[in-house]
């Protein structure tokens, strides 16, 4: 079974070179601060600038928590990341879902398009977690609801 990839697109007021640099180099500054997977909030999010590089968060005490890795580093047009967090937001080194981000010129700025694909690979962990929650996943729904509310409150 395959499910449709998620595709999202925005335009930004900076050219692709700059957009690529901000997306990768400043991810810790624009990523929602409540979206951390370690017990403590992150002070930095790092995408190492090379294929094979790590993608991780780091907290104030220096503890690091991996999210995945860099599969392709092709500035200014394309970044390919492996999102390796399972449906329970735990790192699974055997799980690779792809997050591709492309940066194309549009007017004086750029169009940034993000595609998250191979989502069916979440299947086994989604099923396990659903099972642990006895046929439901109130945790996920609640976490989502909290997130939506926090976004609204900002």
């Amino acid at each position: 079974m395959t499910i449709a990839p998620i595709v999202k697109s925005v335009t930004v007021a900076v050219p692709p070179e700059r957009a690529f640099a901000l997306f990768t180099g400043d991810i810790g500054r624009w990523w929602a601060p409540n979206m951390h997977i370690a017990p403590e909030p992150f002070t930095e999010v790092v995408i190492e600038p090379q294929a094979g590089g790590r993608w991780f968060e780091r907290d104030a005490a220096g503890a690091e928590c991996d999210w995945g890795k860099v599969l392709a580093w092709e500035p200014p047009g394309r970044l390919l990341l492996a999102w390796q967090l399972d449906a329970g937001f735990a790192l699974d080194p055997d799980l690779i879902t792809e997050v591709e981000v492309t940066f194309e010129p549009e007017g004086t700025g750029s169009r940034v398009t993000l595609t998250h694909r191979h989502l069916e690979r979440f299947g086994p962990s989604a099923e396990r977690i659903a099972g642990q929650l006895a046929g439901g996943w109130p945790g996920l729904v609640e976490r989502f609801a909290t997130y939506v509310q926090e976004e609204k409150d900002q």
């Binding site: 499910i3 998620i6 990523w31 929602a32 993000l114 099923e127 659903a130 439901g136 729904v141 609801a145």
Partner: protein, 97 residues
Amino acid sequence: MLADPTRRAILERIGRAPAAVGEIASGLPVSRPAVSQHLKLLKEAGLVTETASGTRRIYRIDPRGLGAMRDWLDQFWQNSLDNFAAYADAQAKGEKQ
């Protein structure tokens, strides 16, 4: 999908126990046809499955959980890209000044 409070309430209701449309509607301040419409959307999103029990249709959360995961990620990436665009545009403004 889950940003809708009625749909969240429906999921929470059938997350506790599978139920028929009438049972779901009786616990919510919305009409039975409205619940049916929400259930239809939830089913299409892979969040809910239905089974026949005699003449009734029983709704339960899709145990595969994939629909929930995809739905959550969809909203998550939308918010993340919006955050990025706001940040990049603020940088562009700052650099012009």
